[in-house]
């Protein structure tokens, strides 16, 4: 088998329940080296949960997740840490440490995992911040910059160890169209030039079609469509068409009430109370 076709991430029959709700219902996917896989789907369809299982933060009820050919669900903490040093992860919120400056946040993986000298660390941090268009922001605290900037700092931090594999949870939400293009271009360059593999969760369709080499669409915990961007664009499934064209009405149900959200892992069922009862103590 030549290295080009070696799978970097291999998920087989992943299954996860929260209580009685099945959030991931038998998902299998494979990501090859140099690919950019975009995972799409409506809010609460299990995209972030899937990502959390792939990076080993959550354990599945059944199924297997292999990263770089090693089974992550069967690893101890130390082995997981060894794998985690080889990939970068961009969180939806950026997840910067609020007590550290922007520069210190980006430097953190370098200081913890490498023996670089102070000047080398500084140079690398400057270079990575430049890549995401944030030169000169080193000494600000995360609270002093905008949400979009925080996300770009998160990207710089995810890339600082030059990972072979990058996971991004909605990398472009909260960014303006120009910055979105910059981040997309960066992802493209890294995958094309340095052979990085990227797994991107997004529902920004412009960005998705720009960077994807392959796309997967999730719905109700299952994969409802997959293929190249062209195949997805012309996919016969009306649900897929509704989603990529952003139409309010179609085969996909509109999730407007709590009952519609039964698949959402974060929504806990509450007993139904009348409006009068619910707001009783707030009405003088």
């Amino acid at each position: 088998m030549n290295p080009e076709t070696k799978p970097v991430v291999e998920v087989v029959d992943l299954f996860r329940k929260f209580g009685s709700r099945t959030v991931i219902d038998g998902i299998s996917l494979t990501v090859y080296r140099g690919e950019t896989l975009v995972i799409m789907g409506g809010s609460g369809c299990g995209k972030s949960t899937l990502l959390r299982h792939i990076i080993g933060v959550m354990k599945p009820n059944a199924g297997s997740v292999k990263i770089f050919g090693d089974e992550i669900t069967a690893m101890n903490d130390r082995q997981i840490d060894d794998i985690r040093r080889r990939f970068g992860m961009l969180f939806q919120s950026g997840a910067l440490l609020a007590s550290l400056t922007v520069g210190e946040n980006v430097a953190l993986p370098l200081l913890q995992h490498t023996d670089m000298s102070a000047t080398e660390v500084e140079d690398t941090v400057t270079q990575k911040l430049q890549m995401v268009g944030l030169s000169g922001f080193e000494n600000l605290k995360p609270a002093e910059i905008s949400g979009g900037m925080r996300k770009r700092v998160g990207l710089a931090r995810a890339l600082v160890l030059d990972p072979e594999l990058l996971f991004s949870d909605e990398p472009t939400s909260g960014l303006d169209p120009i910055m979105t293009a910059v981040v997309d271009k960066l992802t493209l360059e890294l995958t094309k030039r340095s052979g990085m593999t990227a797994v991107v969760v997004t529902h920004d369709m412009t960005s998705a079609f720009r960077i994807a080499t392959r796309m997967i669409m999730l719905g109700r915990g299952k994969i409802i469509a997959q293929g190249t961007p062209d195949e997805i664009r012309t996919h016969p499934d009306p649900e897929v068409q509704q989603f990529i064209n952003g139409e309010p009405d179609g085969p996909m149900p509109l999730n407007l009430s709590q009952d519609d959200h039964e698949h959402h892992p974060h929504v806990k069922a509450r007993p139904l109370v009348s409006a009068r009862q619910r707001f009783r103590h707030k009405i003088p």
Partner: protein, 246 residues
């Protein structure tokens, strides 16, 4: 409770085992935490200890005067401070000041995904966040207690010197004669045990916050309440063991 024991087990691992496996914790964050937990608390600790020393001396003088035994005021101030009031009151201040701050800080980090981000960057949160706070507390609470003892005795001296007819040499001689080293050591042992109680309860509360800002508030409150109760009960137990058993 299960979480609390697990936290203690992993603390022991990261302090005593991991450094020999080449995963040494960093030293500089310990000093940063020591400044926060210890150095910045000194004015508050000094003021409290001074007031307590003065109060103790006044109450002792009032009661002992009726027996014509004012000469024993320094004894009472010294022994009470070293054995009980010093360790307990300084611990109360540190719970209110640093215990709550640690619980709130870690809780905020938990709800804003920072702790998960650390894990995904292969940085162990126990080693990176908890160990420095734990070691800083273990050093600084006894240190603050020693400071508090000094200042408290100074308060006692002030009352004796200005309100009663003690000269300084007389006060010092009486105070030193009444207290032995075990009084000091027992207070230090208590203080170290309190440090462990305060910081592990605060860290445990912070690390297991759920439910946003509201959860952080609840965890902070419950960590303060739990730490206070645990500290006072432990104090009673330790006093029983140290001074009442044999």
């Amino acid at each position: 409770m299960k979480n609390f024991l697990r936290l203690n087990a992993s603390l022991l691992y990261w302090i005593f085992v991991a450094p020999f496996k080449g995963q040494m914790f960093k030293i500089s964050p310990i000093f940063r935490q020591m400044v926060f937990i210890g150095v910045r608390a000194t004015p508050m600790v000094a003021l409290t200890a001074f007031s307590v020393g003065v109060t103790l001396a006044m109450q002792a003088a009032h009661s002992l005067q009726q027996l014509g035994a004012e000469i024993y005021v320094p004894d009472l101030v010294m022994v009470t401070l070293l054995r009980e009031m010093g360790p307990v009151l300084i611990a109360v201040i540190v719970i209110g000041r640093s215990g709550s701050a640690v619980a709130a800080e870690l809780g905020t980090m938990k709800v804003s995904e920072e702790i998960e981000a650390l894990e995904v960057m292969a940085i162990n949160p126990i080693s990176y966040l908890i160990v420095p706070r734990f070691l800083a507390m273990l050093v600084m609470l006894p240190a603050l207690t020693i400071l508090g003892n000094y200042v408290g005795v100074f308060g006692g001296w002030a009352v004796c010197h200005f309100a009663l007819d003690f000269n300084t040499a007389g006060f010092v001689l009486r105070a030193l004669e009444s207290a032995n080293t075990w009084d000091l050591y027992s207070g230090m042992i208590k203080s170290a045990v309190f440090a462990w109680i305060i910081i592990t309860i605060a860290c445990n509360a912070g690390l297991h916050v759920e439910g946003g800002a509201e959860g952080v508030g609840q965890a902070t409150t419950s960590s303060v309440v739990q730490a206070l109760l645990a500290m006072l009960v432990t104090n009673a137990l330790l006093t029983a063991v140290f001074f009442f058993g044999a």
